[in-house]
Symmetry: C2
Subunit: 144 residues, 2 copies
């Protein structure tokens, strides 16, 4: 008998430390679901979530990131239209010029006051929570 | 093609609010690996990590818990001898008398200064991190 479980992923909010106001990176996805999203991806068997976060940043935006903290775990079953995933979201920092690769067909650096809406997955909610944390130090609420 | 991923679990540090010094609950496992551990279990497909934590507390120690916060995610591939799991660890509170059930063949309420060592999985590390957080507000370090 096999049990089905949600599939773990990581997403990274990458603050660019060598630019004014520490803007963050969004990628435009090459694969479905299409649209803008935080960089991230699946956690491989045998790797830690921290290793997955650093690897995905390297693969998708060509940056070596420094992980600042585990921000929050998002696990609403409807957050990903493909299947039930949960995401461990990290806040990270990096310097230099990101370039898109792998699952990212494009990327853009966004100041916090110009972040787009209608992102893929639940990334609108993650961004909203991040802004509340960065501006006011409020932590995301737990689900009921 | 199927990808293998770590399997998500939850563990709960349950502080008993109606007892002096807010002691916590450990269970003695009925199944392998045997020994003392934090209450917890696998996250089911279709349920949030918060729902899984409340459900497992109900099933294993017969308490309705209030989730205080997501404490930390532990994902070292060697943390579970059976297969690669990751655990989202919650700090929670409860009142009343816990009783063991399901995967718990026994339980005990421990004051913080008498917590046993050689717990199952990486729960020694989790307890150590928890004490550093509860006493000093230090957060667990990220893995390299």
């Amino acid at each position: 008998m096999t049990y089905r479980n949600p599939v773990p992923t990581v997403d990274m909010i990458i603050e660019l430390m060598d630019q004014p106001q520490r803007p963050i990176i969004l990628i435009e996805r090459k694969n479905s679901p299409y649209g803008w999203a935080l960089p991230g991806g699946f956690v491989d068997y045998g790797e830690t979530v921290e290793t997955a976060a650093r690897r995905e940043a390297r693969e998708e935006v060509n940056l070596e990131i420094e992980l600042i903290e585990q921000f929050h775990v998002y696990s609403d079953p409807s957050r990903d239209p493909r299947k039930h995933t949960l995401s461990i979201v990290f806040i990270a920092s990096a310097k230099g010029k990101p370039t898109p690769a792998d699952d990212a067909k494009n990327l853009r650096i966004f100041d916090l006051w110009e972040l787009p809406e209608n992102l893929c997955f639940d990334h609108d909610k993650i961004i909203k929570d991040y802004l509340n944390y960065r501006y006011y130090k409020f932590r995301p609420q737990l689900l009921h």
